[in-house]
Subunit: 253 residues, 2 copies
DNA sequence: CGGCGAGTTGAGAGCAATCAAACCTAGTGG
DNA sequence: CCACTAGGTTTGATTGCTCTCAACTCGCCG
């Protein structure tokens, strides 16, 4: 089920991580080396880490989509976040403790496993790497807060619109969009589990969104016909994603 | 509105922080000194930090209840977490960036403001303090995930029951319970904003919970008549709180 | 006494869930 | 080449949990 391999053509992976934008060439090469040490390819819908595990490594998503989810005792499932290329799953490098949730792939995923001690060393040796890790983690937390807000306060229509906006912005930031289109491999059931809705209601809501001329979603391809209007109806404020690389300087609130 | 003072009778504050349980006496005294450097008392329902701010310090709650919340453009409000004595608000010591949410008091709050550089130094000088900070932060994130799950998957009854369980366990861990009773200063509107329900529905749901003999909530006092049963109906799994001090060793899953 | 915050109650409406079935498409195997 | 299957999407009918709006109670305080 699992393949280990090394990809010569994936040099400068870290170039794709906006968080690492201001590393030197030399630093970037060290980082790439560490990331290439152990690369795996996992099939779709496959567990990466299960609740209760105590993984000794963290995972960088190199390609594909993955998810973090939590299951209640009676089977109800909540997706807590999605991971795409460039994302770090669980940057908790310092505190070893049992996972209180699970990670699994959505599509086929290519990921780099980095031993926690290695990453810790790296973070200490290259301060900018440590900073990048912490920033990545802060963004993940901010996203989690926004999801709580979304599920707690937004309507079904707004929630789904918000999810579309967030994923599109994140993908665009990682250079994974083509114009107003991007890959979007989630099923309507996935969207339902992420937004706290039922699959049937997600279906009807997306149809409505299509009729409103906001988006198109077919064959795992999402097209944003009117991003501005979608952001408006979603009450989407991109601030929480901290995408602006120069954010430390100015702040548009 | 704000009073600065020093409390001689609050020595060994850090004793109350389970996270700091395994510090030496000497370390604890240093920590106490830092925490006592700048102590404020804020009135109820008062902003501590507003969205957009770039605070140069973090806040330790010494006494009282506070909350983290987020407001949508149209005024809808989601409470993201509650803070009680011993909690650290926003342990983001390393990455300076604008707040994407706000903090405010619920009751009168006594808090210690610690300059981020000071805390950073302290964390580097005393490894255990750094570890405690990271652990505290990890718990906060785990709670956030659980809240997302709660709002997304649990019914109104289960959500409120879950909140009661969580706060009771956290308070008990901090030594702030008396038997099966604890202070519980949240109004029904607060509970509504935290659970994504309306105040009216919270009212009816709590009445039902009372009729079921599970809890009593009067005069800001919460009594758990049957904690086990409440945990069961809430599908409450305390694991995510990482309260077990020896958790690093064994794991009951 | 008046006003305010918090809690309670009632009636009605609506958003989203549930249950069930049909459809569609791609992949499989005979 | 075509049934057959499975996963995903769509549709319809119905139910119900939760919201909305509104009024009323109670205790407290200036």
């Amino acid at each position: 089920m699992t393949a280990y391999c090394s990809f010569g053509n994936r040099s400068h992976l870290s170039l794709h991580l906006p968080a690492f934008a201001n590393l030197t060439e030399a630093d970037r090469e060290i980082l790439d080396t560490v990331l290439n040490r152990r690369v795996r390819v996992l099939p779709p819908r496959h567990d990466i880490i299960r609740e209760g595990d105590r993984p000794g490594h963290v995972c960088f998503i190199l390609d594909g989509w993955a998810q973090r989810y939590k299951q209640l005792a009676d089977g109800r499932r909540q997706i807590l976040s999605f991971f795409v290329a460039g994302d770090l799953c669980d940057a908790n490098v310092f505190i070893p403790c049992a996972m209180d949730h699970s990670l699994s792939t959505i599509t086929q995923v290519q990921l780099a496993e980095v031993a926690k001690p290695d990453l810790r060393e790296l973070a200490e040796a290259i301060p900018r790497v440590g900073e990048a890790l912490r920033r990545t983690e802060q963004v993940a937390i901010a996203i989690q807060r926004e999801w709580t807000t979304s599920i707690g306060q937004r309507t079904a229509y707004e929630r789904i619109a918000h999810l579309f906006c967030e994923m599109f912005m994140r993908l665009r930031d990682g250079g994974a969009t083509q114009g107003d289109t991007c890959d979007f491999p989630l099923t309507q059931s996935d969207i339902a589990d992420a937004t706290g809705l039922t699959q049937v209601h997600v279906n009807r809501t997306i149809q409505e969104m299509r009729r409103d001329g906001l988006i198109e979603l077919r064959n795992r391809q999402l097209t944003m016909h009117d991003l501005d209007r979608l952001m408006a109806v979603a009450l989407f404020n991109p601030h929480y994603l901290h995408l602006d690389p120069a954010e430390s300087q100015h702040q548009p609130v």
